[in-house]
Symmetry: C2
Subunit: 272 residues, 2 copies
């Protein structure tokens, strides 16, 4: 998918919502657990009930890897289901990978080619030759961790040297990577005070923003400085949507929660 196609979808649906498919077998409705592939069935029903309200889905790979081969099968079925039925949806493998050059290429091929994800999250610590192998894929996006929403994000990401914090340096340095137009960045919704500084460095790149909902971030605060003329935001909610109910009405409730967020986004977009 191209950036233009993503923007078009956002304008069409009046939504820049991303739904996190972080499926935990302990949290899904009882009636699904007897099925052959409860994780895929859960995802399928969530997707069918919410696809018109969201522009992106983001399975966190840890939740699939945790179930070994079975988890991997559920992931494959989920991404195939998305690509076959809703090709207009932007898909994000939340994998936070990154390794030396030839090894990053392996990860990139696995997620971009074999699984046909549109994008993958990548950790920046190993620098240029760990990121560029991902950037080399046309119409695929590499979403670099910049400023994460968790408490530990402040251990290193805001360390300051020469009046510049590490996450700012990560943003600036990565702009010099080859094919940096294929970059997006993870910026937590729990850190709205940083969005203004971030937009000074990356005025046009998309930001993937987790932390709205369960983690306490505010959509209004994020949009105040994060929104660009081309929107430039994908705001993720996981638990708040997919676990809105653990009864037989889980998909319906997920749709209701998605609609609430989409309506809030529509108001913001209409006011632009």
């Amino acid at each position: 998918m191209t950036k233009e196609q993503l923007i078009e979808q956002i304008r069409l649906k009046k939504s820049f919502l991303c739904i996190g498919l972080d499926v935990d077998l302990d949290k899904i409705p009882e009636h699904l657990k007897e099925l052959e592939d409860p994780i895929f069935e859960f995802n399928k029903q969530i997707i069918d009930a919410t696809h018109h309200l969201t522009v992106a889905y983001k399975p966190n790979i840890a939740f699939y890897e945790a179930y070994g081969i079975k988890g991997w099968q559920s992931l494959e079925k989920t991404i195939n289901y998305l690509n076959q039925n809703y090709p207009e949806i932007f898909t994000i493998a939340d994998a936070k990978r990154g390794d030396i050059g030839n090894t990053s290429t392996r990860y990139a091929k696995a997620y971009f080619e074999d699984l046909s994800f549109d994008s993958i999250t990548v950790a920046p610590y190993m620098g240029r030759d760990s990121v560029e192998p991902f950037l080399a894929f046309k119409d695929k996006f590499t979403i670099l961790l910049a400023l994460t929403s968790n408490a530990g994000g402040l251990d290193f990401q805001t360390l300051e040297y020469n009046d510049e914090q590490l996450y700012q340096r990560v943003l600036k340095t990565s702009l010099n990577y080859k094919n940096s137009e294929n970059l997006m960045y993870v910026v937590g919704a729990t850190r709205p005070e940083y969005f203004q500084k971030i937009r000074k460095i990356v005025p046009n790149h998309f930001l993937l923003v987790p932390g709205v909902g369960a983690q306490g971030g505010s959509l209004q605060d994020v949009c105040k400085y994060g929104l660009t003329d081309d929107i430039g935001l994908l705001v993720n909610s996981s638990r708040g949507i997919i676990y809105a109910s653990n009864g037989t009405d889980f998909a319906e409730k997920a749709s209701e929660k998605s609609l609430e967020l989409q309506q809030e986004m529509k108001t913001i977009l209409d006011a632009q």
Copy 2:
């Protein structure tokens, strides 16, 4: 495995060698490719031919993930084969994972419990709550990226603030994490000039050292400042050993290359 057991194995075998099982189907001998699981068969023969010369094996997970479900099956068979036949071997999942708290717990369970690896490599960028879920497992080790061997390692890891470089800060900060006695660190062999500084901060922790061989690092240089009274080093070689030949003699040649390194290590240990 405990740290004491690992040290005992090193003294017994006069080796602190780790062999990287980074298996690429394009590089393995032709005669294996007709078998049902060429990757596992390759690993099995390498392991059988080298287990007496090495104390650790390190599959890089990217190489398995690249083959999807089949790759995951090869990985499971490989770790099970190691644990059943050579329980004295220290096993490292080179996964470079790391995510917010509850998600890191998922990765930790997958690698420490389901696959029964002794250790996993973890990226530090997301800080304390992304690392501590791994550290919570008793007799399991979390190998944090500190100073990596690749060129891009210098993009951020050596940034300096208050006379301290980022990798030094990572070392110091992580010592305050809960269960920090379960930490080890990745330090590239291509950066021998840093080992003295690193040992001032972590005088006793084990360092996993990639970059000897194909990447150009020197074993002598690494040992000069890296070696401790309890050895404290695991030196990894991947391509230099497992691809020493791509003929039917690949396991024999891998054993010869391992013996060369082990003999060099024996000389260093005997001189201690």
